[in-house]
Subunit: 404 residues, 2 copies
């Protein structure tokens, strides 16, 4: 008799955003007259920019003719896209990443889950708390997290690095030694980030204890301050300890278009085995490339027109973030984030729990946010609002909150 992966049975409830979607659907069906505004899930609302649209139409036309048709893509992704990434995301920042250290994928969510495949089950992970749920859930599925402890709402074999008001929403080096460290800056969900000097401490630490850092830089485009690193490879020694995940979802609105990439330097070795080679093998065996049309769309993001147009989108969302922060502050809320990230992190008022505030906000202001406790135990008492709505809706939502 076949046996299932029992680790799946340990998973708690369903994926956070599926849960929220169900609650919202129920509210809407009971209150069909209410206009619900979502500042919840990190999904974008602005359409794809003209440069990307044009590139896709052109690529679609190529697929219509035998002479220009494209079948299976090269294992690592098309060179035109990897070259554009190498030049614009790395060389332009003084970082030399080789073409075969870049792996094109269908997005950072898949990569952040799948990257675990190349590591042994016997690794102890460290995560920020609160944290993007995918890092933890995929490690639960892989059997790395131990058992769920109800009393503390946490996993017995996971090292949690609290990011709260007390730590300025940044993690501190853990007391216990982890094998795999997940870091995400600018951070989802708190919207906070750390300076290059602070990130350098993590790189030095990882190299010292023999840990690997999974560095999620999906929100890099939202960095507005000078001393914040855009890639972990700006730090010395990062190539021997860090894997970087990148996405087109938030810098170019590709949440429904699906494109991302992972960088694994060839210097990253474990007992003589290059992680780059392991990932190349996984990539070639369990994946068959992002669509040609979508890879051309990604290339267009790096054209002169694409850069200008996507920068405008980022600025649009960051103006929303400013609107949220200022509005909440004037309403007396304690808020952080929103300066180098499209997320605003607020303390729930009057000692409400995160889910109580979710229900309160949905019922009384018809606004959907994300309960901080859904991101980890230290998220309790906090709440995430995103800047990805339209400006009109963001303004309306903040007015409603002010009037509560």
């Amino acid at each position: 008799m076949y046996k299932i992966n029992e680790n799946y049975l340990k998973l708690q409830g369903s994926y956070l955003f599926s849960n929220i979607a169900k609650k919202v659907a129920a509210f809407k069906s009971e209150n069909p007259d209410k206009e619900v505004i979502s500042l919840g899930i990190g999904d974008v609302t602005q359409p794809l920019c003209p440069a990307v649209i044009e590139a896709m139409h052109k690529a679609v036309d190529e697929m219509a003719n035998a002479e220009t048709f494209h079948g299976y893509a090269p294992d690592l992704g098309y060179e035109f896209l990897r070259s554009a990434i190498r030049k614009n995301d790395y060389l332009a920042r003084g970082v030399d990443i080789a073409l075969d250290e870049i792996f094109i994928s269908d997005g950072a969510k898949s990569d952040s889950g799948n990257i675990g495949d190349i590591f042994s089950k016997d690794n102890r992970i460290a995560v920020c708390d609160p944290v993007y749920p995918v890092y933890v859930d995929t490690n639960v599925m892989a059997g790395r997290t131990g058992e769920f402890v109800k009393a503390t709402e946490s996993w017995s074999n996971v090292i949690y690095m609290p990011c709260t008001k007390e730590t300025n929403f940044a993690p501190e080096l853990p007391k216990e030694t982890p094998d795999i460290i997940y870091l995400c800056f600018p951070n989802n969900p708190t919207g906070s980030t750390i300076t290059k000097d602070e990130l350098q401490k993590w790189v030095d630490y990882a190299n010292q204890v023999g840990a690997v850092i999974i560095y999620d830089a999906a929100y890099e485009a939202y960095i507005s301050e000078d001393n914040v690193p855009h890639t972990i490879y700006e730090c010395e020694g990062a190539k021997t300890c860090a894997i970087e995940l990148r996405s087109f979802s938030k810098n170019a609105g590709f949440t429904g278009t699906r494109l991302g990439f992972t960088v694994i330097p060839k210097e990253l070795e474990s007992n003589g085995t290059k992680l780059n080679a392991l990932w190349a093998r996984r990539h070639g065996t369990k994946f068959n490339g992002a669509p040609y049309i979508i890879q051309r769309a990604g290339e267009a993001v790096y054209t002169e027109a694409g850069k200008v147009q996507t920068k405008e989108q980022v600025a649009y969302y960051m103006n929303n973030a400013k609107t949220i922060i200022e509005g909440l502050k004037s309403a007396g809320y304690s808020v952080s984030g929103g300066v180098n990230a499209p997320y605003v992190w607020l303390e729930t008022p009057n000692g409400m729990s995160s889910w109580e505030f979710f229900d309160y906000l949905l019922a009384n202001a018809n606004i959907v946010g994300t309960p901080g406790s859904g991101f980890g135990p230290s998220g309790e008492g906090y709440f995430r609002l995103t800047a990805f709505g339209t400006y009109e809706n963001t303004l309306k939502a903040i007015e409603r909150i002010k009037n509560l």
Copy 2:
């Protein structure tokens, strides 16, 4: 110190088709004047059909406007696509599959590798021999295959089901009891298939011994004979023992467009746990949907125009298959397949090994095929040619082989 997944180090050589690509690249660089024709990898050459192109242009335009823009897709895929699949691939064949038993993905290769995630490491797999390498390699990565035995070119903990001339290229029920059985009909690489009555025996067997069948039906569109099942769910009892993988790569030329789906009936349970729920959890956590544009392309395959146009493509390739079979037969080769599948399977002449024949054909006829031994030990002495080339190249290739 972090530890890698040591199972990866057991993998033999690199992925078959990467190996072939390297050999071909070397030959071309040494012989720049030679016109190499590939009948090797199963990649299509005909462009996407007009109905699909039109649907993609329309979807691209939708992505250009905020009112019609699409962000994150629903977890299981868009209902418009799942409804079209349900109606055309299942209800039309007398099979009732519910909408939430269909999971849209980026292709059958990813699914056939990822499906292993929901099963325990402690399952014994059975595969046809020869077989599509991804089934075996992904199980090596997961640690299910035991050790590689050089003498027999096989894995110690895998049950091989030989498909040779002696078995009419179909597997026989295994003597040892497997937990997970991989079946692919019409078959890649042999091009053979089995009747509905024969498949029923496998379904009965799986239900009897408590095995689960991973049924790869990627080549279903090439079935030309009446008594061959298009889906395993045509067999009674299949819903309690089978997962079906489907692809748009070969019926509609989506090899570079990337779309597929997996069906997991809710009747499929292990000790009360529904595999459908496990896969839903994996799908929602480690994947973020196929692009909206590509899902619209898939929907177009099921329109009246799309059906007519993709049928023409399949007929085009099957005419190539006929050309290959007749040509090889007239040249004295022993061939099979090519009637319900785009693959022709031939015995290597003069006792040559599969790789010897590969080198011989590349050097003397400048034709790329796939060595049978790359698909498993019982593939030794066989060779695969695919019907996915252009008609002109196929004709030219066969003339060259005849003149050897």
